[in-house]
């Protein structure tokens, strides 16, 4: 199995995630899209790790997972806090700094 195929799949998933961040309004779905982008980069890391015959890529993917877990915990706590104060999970409603 060629590395190029995995990289193409990774690029496609990353693109879908990036488009999701731009298109969706629900903060939770935006977070899921960010997770999809992180997973896509993990796939690229693992593919390169096998292509080069070294495990450093897998260690990098492992660290990405750790950081993603921390990011999700804090991000979802922020979403819950915003939802409590303004009863909405839409990113358009959190626009107080605009005015």
């Amino acid at each position: 199995m060629n590395t190029e195929h995995y990289l193409t799949l990774s690029a496609l998933l990353f693109t879908i995630g990036a488009t999701g961040v731009l298109v969706r309004r629900n903060a939770i779905v935006v977070f899921m899209s960010v997770e999809l982008m992180l997973n896509a980069t993990n796939l690229a890391f693992v593919s390169f790790s096998r292509a080069h015959g070294q495990l450093d890529g897998q260690v990098a993917a492992f660290f990405v997972m750790v950081v993603a877990a921390a990011e999700v915990v804090v991000g979802l706590a922020i979403i819950v806090a915003i939802f409590r104060s303004r009863r909405s999970a839409s990113v358009d409603d959190a626009s107080l700094l605009k005015y």
Binding site: M1, N2, T3, E4, H5, Y6, L7, T8, L9, A11, L12, L13, T15, I16, A18, T19, G20, L22, V23, R24, N26, I28, V29, F31, M32, S33, L36, N42, L43, V46, S49, R50, A51, G53, L55, D56, Q58, V59, A61, F62, F63, M65, V66, V67, A68, A69, A70, E71, V72, V73, V74, L76, A77, I79, V80, F83, S88, A89, S90, D92
Partner: protein, 265 residues
Amino acid sequence: MIAFWVLAPLMVVAALGMVLVRKAVHSALLLAVVMVSLAVLYAAQEAPFLFAVQIIVYTGAILMLFLFVLMLVGVDSSDSVVETIPGQRLAATAVGLLFGLLLVLGVAQATLSASVGLGEANADGNVDALATLLFGRYILAFEITSALLITAAMGAMVLAHRERLSPKQRQSDFAAQRMRDYAESGKHPGPLPVPGVYARHNAVDTPALLPDGSPSSISVSRSLQSRGLVRTSSPTDVERTTAELDAALDPDAPSAGHVERGSGR
């Protein structure tokens, strides 16, 4: 090989569905499909440790967290169709398509040497080799990760914590409030009547009957009333119930003529 060609289209379709479906719960489930498929691809690429971590951490922990928050925020909070910036959705899709084209073309242009494979690096087992790296060359990053995790846990606790703005109501406070209501508005201080008292059925949707035979509206749940599921009762229910009870207790007695006894069953 086969795993890739089966899973890759599935993953792309599931990822597209995740972005396109309106309900957030469906998005979360489609993301689970992508993540489990990704775990299988890790296993196919000689990364068994990451396969397990992907399933345990991502599908097990992170997605469950997503689902918890979705249930907390409200399952039916779907996106609004109104665009805040006009044409933003179209422009974002165009940018996404161009970006994807750029990435795929870039990957296609690159010439990569033949894949070396991890047979040599994984000679002692994947987990052992990763542990040697993690606690050797990457020990500093690993230690800093612990600080990150503790900070994240503290941050989540601080963000999700809610200060109590009013003192907690205790049982004596509730009792005093009930007596105050009774003194001021005459509201009955005791518990509400249970459904079905003196009625022909004791189901929750049957209102209790007052001594004059009229149904008591406070005896059935308000949500049942708003849904229109309350069973109707007629003023003759008391007499019919009395007759039925008497017939059951005393088979010899006539089944009619108990009207004068009223509801004193």
